[in-house]
């Protein structure tokens, strides 16, 4: 009964189809349920006389019969369907989105337009270099800008995402040691690290050793000295760390690692605190990966695409992934003749569309503007932290950088969990912070306001949090039953995992 979902007000006296049995359709039916046999959404150019069919050209045995279940809709139906879906989403452009460690800053709309310019969007990756000099120069300029921003010597824009940048960096560490005839098996990771760090280590063939941060939330050089050995290839450090505080001993940590021949890998996930504030290269980092979808404002896209450039010091340059951009009197071109390179991580050059957007952002802000962006991001985080301190005290007494990690006593006082607080925030039209992370803070709320949100927005967030605090004490059910104002109420994630339904299937004929 595909028609059931088309008009939301259809009464309940219709018989549900097999697909919908016991599963009432919410706002928007699936595209497959809107199909009508024989309907079409596009027209192809008319066939010419003498055109041969696929079966004639290839033989019937190479051809499939049909695309069973594939959608059959008109263009307006398709457009309406996806626009309706769009209305079910929270998004940075619509809502305050203080998701810690994710840097949900405003994504300038002009950047999307620039990436769509015919000279950039229409460029085939196999285009001969002499016909693509503008794109290659843009890549060269972006590499140079990121080297300056990070204080590093060489940059590759190749990795498709931050996590792929991590893997790239770790494989380079591995290649570097091997070239020197050393096989090192271990990588040190702090207990506050993002989950991608240990996962990347495993993929890169390393065993993880966990370094404990001290009671104040910092890593101590002494702890690193205790753990480092000739079997340690590198240490991955996020700075500021996931508590949002600046690692005070980062330079001593770098020295302790270098003394034993190990590398410092700086996870640039929190770069939005560091622009014009402190350069990874000056901290002693050998490698840093950047997430262009964070500090450099490319849209998050509901989970990608991003880009994860890696910046390295001179001694690691030979190991950067292929291809490398080079420049000669003939202009720019890509070079794949690098015997020490770790090789490719993906097809072609890089996520060029994201590089264009990020480069436009860097041009617009300039060196001075980038420095101001980080300062205002830090201002916002400290402002929210100070204002929320009475109800949601900071998990650390140390100064916050671009994000703050808060805790609360509502679990104890009212049996209200961090998850429930987060869900209640949705009713206020605010996307919740990152929750239960870092793992070292029980019930953590990790808040990253970013520099593009105004004081009024931060004030309304603080007021919402204060109100939720009061509600939790006086009317806890309201918090526990949140959200009430969204297209769906609390989603049963346990059910989804217990009985996985991962695709739509055509209901059997009655």
């Amino acid at each position: 009964m595909a028609s059931a979902g088309r008009i939301r007000t259809i009464a309940s006296d219709e018989t549900p189809s097999a697909q919908e049995r016991n599963e009432p359709v919410s706002g928007v039916p699936l595209i497959f349920e809107l199909s009508s046999e024989g309907r079409r959404g596009t027209d192809q150019s008319p066939r010419a006389a003498g055109d041969r069919s696929g079966a004639e050209l290839l033989g019937a045995e190479l051809c499939r019969e049909d695309l069973p279940g594939f959608p059959e809709l008109s263009e307006p139906q398709v457009l309406r369907h996806f626009l309706r879906l769009s209305q079910l989403n929270f998004a940075q452009a619509l809502q305050f989105y203080p998701l810690g460690s994710c840097t949900m800053k405003y994504n300038p709309v002009v950047n999307d337009e620039l990436a769509s310019l015919a000279g950039l969007a229409g460029l085939h990756p196999a285009m001969p270099a002499h016909l693509a000099q503008g794109a290659l120069e843009l890549i060269a300029r972006m590499e140079a800008a990121l080297a300056e921003i990070t204080g590093m010597d060489a940059v590759s824009l190749h990795p498709a995402a931050g996590a792929q940048g991590e893997l790239t960096g770790l494989l380079m560490v591995r290649a570097y040691h091997r070239k020197r005839g050393e096989v090192r098996h271990k990588v040190i990771i702090p207990d506050t690290a993002h989950g991608t760090n240990p996962a990347s280590c495993t993929l890169a063939g390393f065993e993880v050793i966990v370094a404990k941060s001290n009671r104040r939330g910092y890593l101590e050089a002494a702890e690193v000295r205790r753990l480092v050995s000739d079997d340690v290839a590198a240490m991955m450090v996020t700075n500021p760390n996931t508590l949002g505080i600046f690692e005070q001993e980062i330079q001593e940590i770098a020295a302790a690692l270098h003394e034993r021949g190990a590398m410092l890998y700086l996870d640039g996930a929190n770069m939005n605190a560091l622009l014009g504030v402190a350069k990874p290269g000056h901290m002693g980092a050998d490698i840093v990966q950047l997430n262009l979808h964070k500090s450099f404002s490319t849209p998050h896209g509901g989970g990608g695409p991003g880009a994860g450039p890696v910046a390295v010091r001179k001694h690691l340059e030979p190991y950067l992934p292929l291809p490398r951009l080079t420049h000669s009197s003939a202009g720019y071109e890509f070079d794949s003749e690098r015997p020490d390179s770790i090789g490719r991580m993906r097809a072609y050059h890089n996520n060029f569309g994201m590089i264009v957007r990020a480069y436009a952002y860097i041009l617009a802000l300039g060196g001075d503007g980038l420095g101001m962006a980080s300062r205002l991001a830090i201002l916002g985080a400290n402002y929210v932290r100070t204002r929320l301190q009475p109800h949601f005290p900071s998990a650390t007494g140390e100064p916050s950088m671009h994000e703050c990690v808060l805790s609360h006593d509502l679990e104890k006082r009212a049996g209200v969990s961090t998850l429930e607080i987060a869900k209640r925030l949705l009713d206020f039209g605010i996307h919740p912070p990152t929750i239960y992370f870092p793992l070292v803070v029980p019930g953590a709320l990790m808040i990253e306001p970013t520099e593009t949100e105004s004081k009024e927005i931060l004030d309304s967030f603080v007021e919402a949090m204060e109100r939720i605090y009061d509600e939790a004490l006086n009317d806890p059910e309201r918090v526990k039953n949140a959200p009430q104002t969204l297209p769906v109420s609390r989603v049963d994630e346990a059910l989804a995992a217990r009985r996985p339904i991962l695709r739509w299937e055509k209901p059997p004929l009655p």
């Binding site: 033989g59 499939r64 059959e72 503008g134 800008a145 931050g162 509901g302 090789g343 205002l376 959200p483």
Partner: protein, 446 residues
């Protein structure tokens, strides 16, 4: 940045600081002293547009040329409705859908993407997407390794795209004890040499990876390859860079493939100098637990309504950390959305017709070339891409470029044994009257 001087002052006062730099006074002084970013000062939006447009204009190959470039990324028409949907800020500026209640748009669209990929590939499960086809192929081999940890030999068809083979090698470089073997292609047909594969098909073989169609344009005998792999107890992986082909040729799932991956750029994404594209991965339900990447599942909300959320994330890095199936955190969600809209618009009959048009045009082009005495290098069946046999492919490319034609891709840099080969791709973006001039340009230097 929205802050007025008054806002900054008021916020600093609340915090109890005098100046913005007081907030970073705890950062070691030597780091702060050298932190200034030496780039041009910021500029207006108009200046940025002027600057980037000037760079775009210097990409002279992007317009004014008739193009036959393919080789892994394909020129297809992108319907305006696709761009209209992915430009919506509600999709473009949302985050990974961790908060299901605030992400039903994204999660439902991903569920639809997963379904479309299973239909196209005739497989049972598909994930929420990967970075691109090459990294998806590499992740598929790692997945095979988790499924059969005791086997060590990975057989890569030499007719798999060079970038895919190189990416797989990089991803596997840190895996202990893996041996990569390249299976040659048949010099006559251009298809993977099944007899050569058969010789290494034993209890050590982990998996085969085959392009479908392959890097030489040939539609591989995927069923026989899968059968050979299965006889040895190994897994068969297929990689498809030209997704439109799956509208016409038999689906990997019908041919016994265990993991089908590919690149979805043909489904509504611009060429964009090679990225971002979108990888896809589909497999059998029995292999689900070893699949990398995000998955969206259908469930219910507290009021019994259908809802969608990320699921089975105990496989993933943020829960399992060093024991995760992959380090992948995001997919290429917005690109997967573009593919979802594209495939919905094309629909059951439209995708088939588009594929038929591609195969017909490509064969017509091959016929026109043949009539001018320009032969194909390989005899195997092809979809919309074929390899020409030329005495001097580089000279042919130069002659064609003088006539404003990008005739294709010379294969010699990646295949020294194919110094006589030019790969030509023909899509619905080409017109029948372009084939004569292509033949004339190439014939000029033959």
């Amino acid at each position: 940045m929205p802050h007025t001087d008054g806002d900054v002052a008021a916020m600093l006062e609340t915090i109890g600081a005098k100046h913005l730099d007081d907030l970073i006074a705890h950062v070691p002084a030597n780091l702060r002293a050298s932190a200034a970013i030496d780039l041009e000062r910021g500029c207006s939006e108009a200046d940025v547009v002027r600057e980037i447009s000037a760079l775009a204009d210097r990409n002279t190959g992007a317009s004014g040329f008739v193009s036959f470039l393919g080789g892994g990324y394909y020129r297809h028409y992108v319907p305006a409705a696709v761009r209209a949907v992915i430009a919506r800020a509600e999709f473009a500026t949302s985050y990974t859908p961790y908060q299901a209640e605030a992400s039903q748009g994204t999660t439902q669209a991903i569920f639809e993407f997963q379904t479309l990929i299973t239909q196209l590939s005739a497989m049972e499960v598909a994930n929420a997407s990967m970075y691109d086809g090459a990294s998806a192929a590499a992740e598929a081999v790692l997945m095979a390794r988790r499924l059969m940890p005791k086997r060590h030999v990975v057989a890569l068809s030499r007719a798999l795209w060079p970038d895919y083979r190189a990416t797989i090698r990089t991803y596997l470089s840190a895996q202990h004890g893996i041996e990569i073997v390249e299976v040659p292609f048949d010099d006559v047909t251009g298809a993977t040499d099944i007899a050569a594969l058969d010789r290494i098909a034993n209890e050590r073989l982990l998996c085969t990876v085959t392009g479908y169609p392959n890097a030489l344009g040939i539609i591989e005998p995927l069923g026989s390859i899968a059968e050979t792999a299965h006889r040895a107890g190994a897994l068969a992986i297929s990689a498809t860079a030209e997704g439109i082909a799956l509208g016409l040729i038999r689906a990997p799932g019908e041919l016994g493939v265990d993991i089908a991956v590919g690149e979805g750029q043909s489904f509504g994404l611009p060429l964009q100098f090679g990225g971002p594209g979108v990888g896809f991965m589909a497999s059998r339900t029995t292999h689900l637990r070893q699949m990398p990447g995000r998955l969206v599942g259908q469930t219910r909300d507290r009021d019994g309504r259908r809802a969608f959320c990320l699921t089975l994330n105990t496989r993933e890095q943020h829960i399992r950390r060093e024991r995760a199936t992959s380090n992948i955190c995001t997919n290429h969600s917005l690109c997967a959305l573009a593919a979802t809209v594209y495939l919905s618009l094309m629909g059951r009959s439209g995708l088939r017709e588009l594929a038929e048009r591609n195969v017909e045009l490509a064969h017509r082009a091959a016929d026109v070339l043949e009539a001018s005495g320009i032969k194909r290098r390989f005899s195997g069946p092809f979809f919309n891409e074929f390899t020409l046999k030329l005495a001097n492919p580089m000279a042919a490319l130069e002659a064609a470029e003088r006539r404003q034609i990008l005739a294709g891709i010379a294969l010699a840099p990646d295949y020294p044994e194919l110094s006589d080969a030019l790969l030509v791709s023909v899509t619905e973006m080409n017109r029948g009257d372009e084939f004569g001039p292509l033949a004339a340009a190439i014939a000029e230097v033959r």
